[in-house]
């Protein structure tokens, strides 16, 4: 059961902690990197280190790390290799793809047998690996080359990005990444080779004959059930998808309460049929349905959904929840999510009720228990 949440926002990294002796009291207890854009945060349970991806805009992105009980220090930032002179390597508009990290968009630890290993997903689509707790990074060149052969494209940004990294708890060499836009891509050998062949995922924004092309898919967020690692959930640009066979075949969930559009999804760590989403009006609008912030929950694999709203604003609310801004703790009972309007809510009963921690934070990009 986690008593601390890290909240990465447009203007700093906030610590939120459950107050001892107070049943419902979660409070903001601190802020690091005040006024800085923090795009991603990771609390490593193996050694209690915390990593933060900062975006200084003009000055580029930077990685910071704090040892348990220590001070923040800037560490190496994933950097792309030198682009070969004369290489014609263009995006969908015919412009040269910039070989330079423009966003740190995913941070995950390696498997239990991989001390010191951290994975980092970025825009413009590179995956990086560190084997020394972030002191140095190496691009996974096989996937970088793969991405350009497959012509990944931007989803909500000019450039594609890796936003989800799932390390199979049974086998650390099996890693799956979610890409906007580039689909779901898997390695079974620790990153030497990659495969993007999936079926059933549909892209409504493509011509009909290309709708099921695996390489054009825009999964907004990909999550894996820890206790049943063959079960994956995706909140996609145009719907919800579930896989029961390790992420190869996908089934579309066409009904999910107010909407199947959104950015975030989490799955219960030990109940693969239980997942939560934060719906919004699709696509061109991206605001809560009817001005009501709700969370939807399924407990039967997507056959039925409950709409949860106890403690959430139900009128004139325009909060949007980005893909990394919903999290669930290791017990599966506590959830937290933050919004573009700076609200942060926490539930201790799997979403049946929510406490407002703040309605005045900066726009929230990433929420993580730890």
């Amino acid at each position: 059961m986690s008593n601390r949440i890290l909240v990465a926002t447009r203007k700093g990294l906030f610590m939120v902690e459950r107050q001892a002796g107070d049943v419902a009291g979660w409070k903001v207890t601190g802020c690091d990197f005040v006024a800085d854009h923090v795009s991603m945060v990771l609390a490593d349970p193996r050694d209690k280190r915390v990593y933060a991806g900062l975006d200084h805009g003009h000055f580029g992105v930077k990685m910071h790390r704090r040892d348990d009980g220590g001070a923040w220090e800037e560490i190496a930032t994933p950097a792309y290799p030198e682009k070969p002179e004369g290489l014609e390597d263009n995006d969908m508009w015919g412009r040269p793809i910039p070989w330079s990290t423009s966003k740190i968009w995913a941070l995950e630890t390696g498997g239990p047998d991989e001390d010191g290993l951290i994975w980092c997903g970025t825009l413009p689509g590179g995956l990086f690996r560190s084997t020394d707790n972030g002191a140095s990074w190496e691009i996974v060149r096989s996937l970088w080359d793969f991405s350009r052969v497959k012509k990944w494209m931007g989803g909500g940004a000019d450039l594609p990005g890796i936003h989800s990294i799932c390390v199979d708890p049974r086998n650390s060499k099996r890693v799956k990444v979610g890409v906007s836009c580039g689909g779901v891509v898997t390695t079974d050998d620790g990153g030497t080779t990659w495969d993007s062949q999936i079926s059933g995922m549909r892209a409504a924004y493509m011509p009909p004959e290309q709708a099921f092309d695996p390489d054009v898919q825009d999964p907004h967020r990909l999550v894996q059930c820890r206790a049943d690692p063959d079960r994956f959930w995706v909140q996609h640009h145009n719907g919800i998808f579930r896989s029961d066979n390790g992420g190869t075949a996908w089934e579309e969930i066409t009904e999910a309460g107010p909407s199947t559009f959104g950015f975030a999804v989490v799955v219960h760590p030990s109940e693969p049929d239980t997942a939560w989403f934060v719906p919004a009006i699709k696509d061109e609008k991206r605001i809560p349905v009817d001005g009501k912030v709700v969370v939807t929950r399924t407990r039967d694999g997507g056959r039925t959904f409950e709409t949860l709203r106890n403690g959430l604003p139900q009128e004139h609310a325009y909060d949007l929840v980005f893909r990394h801004a919903l999290d669930i703790d290791g017990s599966g009972d506590r959830l937290a999510f933050g919004s573009t309007t700076g609200s942060l809510w926490i539930s201790e009963d799997q979403g049946d009720s929510w406490q407002t921690v703040s309605a005045n934070l900066p726009p929230v990009y990433c929420v993580r228990f730890g």
């Binding site: 003009h58 000055f59 030198e82 070989w99």
Partner: protein, 89 residues
């Protein structure tokens, strides 16, 4: 010698005092300026060693033209200003 001055906005992240360096091009001058301050290099130049998108460099008041190779000439006793562009907010 040429003088290199960095935007004050950079100072909250990393110390970059003005300094005098040798260099006949912007590249040479910045390489010299970053020789003892490698961290600062990544705040001004991207992974390909080009000028970051929302950074500007002026030589004696004139904006440089070559943002990729930084080949613009710098005269002796010249002054280089490294600033953030408002296009970046």
């Amino acid at each position: 010698m040429v003088r290199v001055v960095f935007t004050p906005n950079l100072q909250r992240h990393i110390a970059c005092p003005p300094l005098e360096v040798e260099g006949t091009t912007v590249r040479e001058a910045l390489d010299a300026a970053f020789a003892d301050n490698e961290r600062a290099r990544t705040y001004v130049l991207d992974d390909q060693a080009a000028l970051r998108k929302h950074m500007s460099v002026f030589v004696n008041g004139a904006r440089i033209r070559d943002r990729v190779h930084l080949s613009d000439a710098v005269p002796e006793n010249g002054e280089i200003y490294v600033l953030q562009a408002l296009s970046g907010g």
